[in-house]
């Protein structure tokens, strides 16, 4: 038992060193992530990639740049769905969109867009509400592979029934099938949906402000950060929003414990939609 516990502590040290190596060698910063979940993913990665220890993995990472995307694949796996939490998108449609209509041009930032589920949901919603033409969408993620996947807009067909149901519950005006083309077990979303989208590599932990946004949607990303990284990201959102701009977070995320809470007011409290205060 004490042996196991000692190994456990050794493993924690090795993980910290591995994350340091990842930062100093490649400038990917996971040091302020919530460790329990990172540890779980790294253990999975270590086993599947066949390393005896995290130290061995670190050694390979330092010398072989091909290890980087593999490791990032484990560290940044994120699973979302289109129109996840349909009531969130319904609230955007019914409560936020009326405000957005008053602007002649709009900027929307999907922060941590992963493979694009949330992005396509948002563009479809804006198209259905007649706002797409005046909007520029910024889709950012730290994982290049995820960004490339988002740019292709292809999802497995077996996920479509769930997406369709969510879209309907969100108050979708058309059928989701109007927006994709199904073939060979895949649904390929119409490229016109990407016409107004800028894809970009951006880290909420290390990169700077993205200017003058009217809406920022960043859901189930902050839960992966520790308190200080959460606070940094929220500060970034605050500084990137126009006055009275909107911020949407995940169902279990909130500004409650943040140092930036005073800069926002609850807009749709139960959906975690906040508005940047006017001052």
């Amino acid at each position: 038992m004490t042996e196991d516990l000692a190994n456990e502590r050794t493993e924690d040290i090795e993980i910290r060193l591995l994350l340091d190596a990842l930062y100093y060698r490649y400038h990917y910063d996971f040091r302020d992530y919530a460790m329990a979940s990172i540890k779980r993913r790294l253990r999975q990665g270590r086993q599947q990639l066949g390393f005896a220890s995290f130290s061995a993995m670190q050694d390979a990472l330092m010398r072989d740049p091909d290890m980087l995307p593999r490791l990032l694949g484990y560290l940044t796996v994120q699973v979302s769905e289109m129109f996840r939490d349909p009531s969130y998108f319904r609230a955007l449609r019914e409560k936020v969109v009326p405000h957005l209509r008053t602007y002649p041009s709009l900027k929307v930032w999907i922060a941590g867009c992963s493979a694009g589920e949330e992005l396509y949901s948002m563009v479809i919603l804006f198209r259905e509400e007649g706002l797409e033409e005046r909007t520029l969408f910024y889709a950012t993620d730290i994982n290049q592979d995820a960004l490339r996947a988002a740019e292709t807009g292809i999802f497995n067909l077996d996920r479509i029934p769930l997406f369709t149901e969510n879209h309907r519950k969100s108050g979708g005006r058309n059928s989701l099938s109007d927006y994709y083309h199904a073939a060979y077990g895949r649904a390929s979303f119409d490229k016109s949906l990407r016409r107004k989208v800028v894809f970009s590599d951006h880290s909420l932990v290390t990169d700077a402000v993205f200017g003058e946004m009217h809406l920022i949607s960043c859901r189930n990303v902050l839960i992966y950060f520790n308190r200080s990284a959460q606070d940094r990201a929220l500060g970034l959102f605050k500084d990137s929003l126009v006055r009275k701009g909107f911020l949407g977070l995940g169902a279990k995320e909130s500004l409650r414990f943040s140092g930036h809470a005073d800069s926002f007011v609850d807009f749709v409290r139960e959906e975690k939609i906040y508005q940047r205060s006017a001052q």
Binding site: M1, A34, M35, S37, R41, V79, I223, S254
Partner: protein, 187 residues
């Protein structure tokens, strides 16, 4: 030598409501330990577990919030569609990582992270259920010297989950719900 216990984790699936009703309400008002609970609930449903047990229990019951410090004498339920984990600094965190064994929240995920955080000072309990979740996590707890308890499969509403836990983790103690409740009141 056993470490003084500092936390309890419980996993339950089919038949969870009845099994938890035999344990949680019996914990006394001054109960010292935090209790983290994963119950498999459908993702699209707003969970009423916390509200339901708040009315029945003598200690505080709530749905876990992200980054919340763990406080003794409190029951924390994992929210539907999120994994619940314990960090080394004994705060809670949530994740929307992929389901494990088709489950989110996953009992294994809670148990393994709590084992890391509490080592030998953890009590882990696998209750009724119709799948294999929790077995792996229970082993992780036992491997670090924590106490592993499993509901007697003969009395469980669904025996598959306790049986899987016993098979994978032979050191686990098999107990009735009644005995588990009495055990917790004594720690």
């Amino acid at each position: 030598m056993t470490a003084r216990s500092e936390a309890v984790v419980i996993g339950a699936s089919a038949g969870a409501l009845e099994a938890l009703s035999a344990i949680l309400p019996s914990l006394p008002a001054g109960f010292r330990l935090p209790v983290m609970v994963v119950v498999h609930v459908p993702a699209d449903k707003r969970s009423v577990l916390a509200e339901l047990f708040q009315n029945k229990c003598q200690i505080e019951v709530r749905e876990a919030d992200d980054k919340e410090p763990v406080v003794g004498g409190t029951v924390y339920f994992a929210p539907p569609d999120y994994h619940l984990l314990v960090e080394m600094d004994r705060t809670l965190s949530l994740s929307s990582d992929e389901p494990v064994l088709f489950s989110r929240p996953s009992i294994d995920v809670l148990f393994e992270s709590a084992a890391d955080a509490y080592g030998a000072a953890l009590i882990a309990i696998v209750l009724t259920g119709a799948n294999q979740d929790g077995a792996q996590g229970l082993c992780a707890v036992a491997a670090l010297g924590g106490i592993a308890l499993v509901q007697d499969p003969d009395e469980a509403f669904a025996s598959a989950m306790p049986e899987a836990a016993i098979n994978l983790c032979p050191d686990a103690r098999i107990m009735s719900l009644h005995a588990i409740a009495a055990y917790l009141r004594e720690v």
